[in-house]
Symmetry: C2
Subunit: 318 residues, 2 copies
């Protein structure tokens, strides 16, 4: 057994993170670059290659690396493609796994970023021996990775697990980039928390709130969190409402695949119990009795800065 | 290969159907009995045994039978138990697979009735070579069997796939036996269609409708269907609304597991295009573009009278 390292690459909407990882989930080296500096994907890969080359050398060369795992938005595992990703420069269908393979000479696997997060939990995180779980990433958007019988659910076409786009308030809030109304993502994301804040402040103009000291641009899920921690009533209501929507959605997901654990991950989880308590309450309240008090709802313990690279690298050991 | 028959047993809320089935899904003999004539499950099994014995003899005896497959409400595949079934006489946890095994001397597998329907589709019906599909049973209630990678989704505890109880109208119609508000089952079942009829007739007392010629007791999903076929506007609206709710729910399910096919089964499907057209329309309208125009939404082709026995028997060949 000479080959014992993996490369993890996470292509985000703005930043691409990458690094070398060992089987135990230790990141040996890591770096980052802009995802959108290159109009042609080949030039992006060229830069990635030049930045990874010294790291590859430091673990003893390509021969010591088992493969490359990648997470990316709108990624298709079966085809190794990124397809019509709205936040990336490369339009249409990009056969990125194949291009990377040709450049590096290493087997390359690709999945969407939320599935990679679930892989990371299973390999290095808090669901190591769990065969049935769901990871929900609560960031700018809401992503999901579903694991059943120890395998990521990909569906017939590789696009399964878009739980952020399920409708929880039919006819509800407009999701600007999809045009859908009332999807989970339009409420339970950082963007959603901000929109809820603006809605509540507008709806109750008489209600005193620390949030009124912030400009619209300063109003973020973090400022809402800070105000809530200072006891601000409106800010607390925002998290109560966000948790309600999330909890109701989770109840629906539980009745689909009956997971043992649901792992919440991403920036919004910094709100801690402000988010956890209402989420748990509303999840339980919307479950059939046979599902109640069975699902462990937890926050991920993976360091957010490492998780993207770890999750992507986990694909290599699959 | 001497053993080549299976026994299928479907325990319904009122009737238990059973029969002998060959590998091609031909029912050799079948019969039925009441599910609720016996306070003790042992007496129920005694009657079942006495009725199945001649059928077993007719295929050459127990030695020619591979096993017994059973479908039942609140059934747990892992444990072979029926647990707290509200519509059956036997309360608590009934180890029925074990009891049947002891009585018949045949390996006995058990799953819930909707999962059995999905097994039947996969083995003998319209999803023979399909690895990713969902079966939705639209009867008195709404059941579901989810298949991913060719396997029924059971979840960590064996209770997965309760899609009829997912919430599609938060705060909506009360589901009397669960106490939940706005679940799919409270709208898209035979009971739901009837409730929608009563709601619409009450809400628009001025609106002419053939449905007003029926007593509350006569108002069923079938009378609504008959009136709709005669061009009755309210009756048509009822199916439009039912299809909308069902279609929105199906869109959520598609974004979970990305199935290739969704099979609709059960009494309500007799409404044909009256149900299919709005369901398809609203499903597509609530899907992200990557999922649109991909899912085949079809009606089951299995004869309803046979499907329960066939589905249950399919467990044996699994």
């Amino acid at each position: 057994m000479k080959e014992k390292y993996a490369i993890g690459v996470d292509i985000g909407g703005t930043t691409t993170k990458f690094g070398t990882v060992d089987r135990k989930g230790r990141i040996l080296e890591q770096d980052r670059m802009s995802s959108n500096n290159h109009d042609a994907v080949e030039d992006f890969i060229e830069e990635l290659h030049s930045k990874l080359s010294p790291m590859i050398k430091n673990v003893g060369g390509v021969g010591n690396i088992t493969g490359i795992g990648m997470g990316a938005p709108n990624a298709n595992y079966y085809r190794g493609t990124i397809e019509y990703a709205p936040n990336l420069k490369w339009k249409g269908i990009i056969p990125i796994a194949d291009l990377i393979y040709k450049k590096f000479g290493l087997v390359t696997k690709l999945t969407n970023d939320a599935n990679a997060a679930a892989m990371g939990e299973m390999m290095y995180g808090c669901t190591k021996n769990i065969k049935h779980f769901i990871t929900i990433t609560l960031g700018t958007g809401v992503g999901s990775g579903i694991v059943i019988d120890g395998k990521i659910v990909l569906g017939h076409d590789g696009f399964a697990g878009e739980l952020g786009h399920t409708i929880i308030r039919p006819g509800g809030r407009l999701h600007k980039s999809t045009g859908m109304h009332g999807s989970l993502e339009s409420y339970a994301s950082a963007t959603g928390v901000r929109d809820t804040a603006i809605e509540l402040l507008t709806k109750f103009p008489e209600e005193h709130s620390l949030l009124r000291d912030y400009s619209i641009n300063e109003l973020t899920s973090e400022t809402v969190f800070q105000c809530a921690m200072q006891g601000d009533k409106v800010a607390n209501e925002i998290f109560e409402f966000t948790g309600q929507i999330l909890g109701e959605s989770l109840a629906n997901f539980v009745m689909f695949s009956s997971p043992e654990v649901i792992v919440l991950f991403g920036g919004l989880t910094k709100a801690g119990n402000l988010l956890m308590n209402p989420t748990k309450k509303h999840m339980e309240a919307n479950l059939l009795p046979i599902f109640q008090n069975k699902v462990r709802l937890i926050f991920s313990e993976l360091k957010e800065s490492d998780a993207a690279i770890l999750g992507a690298s986990a694909l290599v050991w699959e």
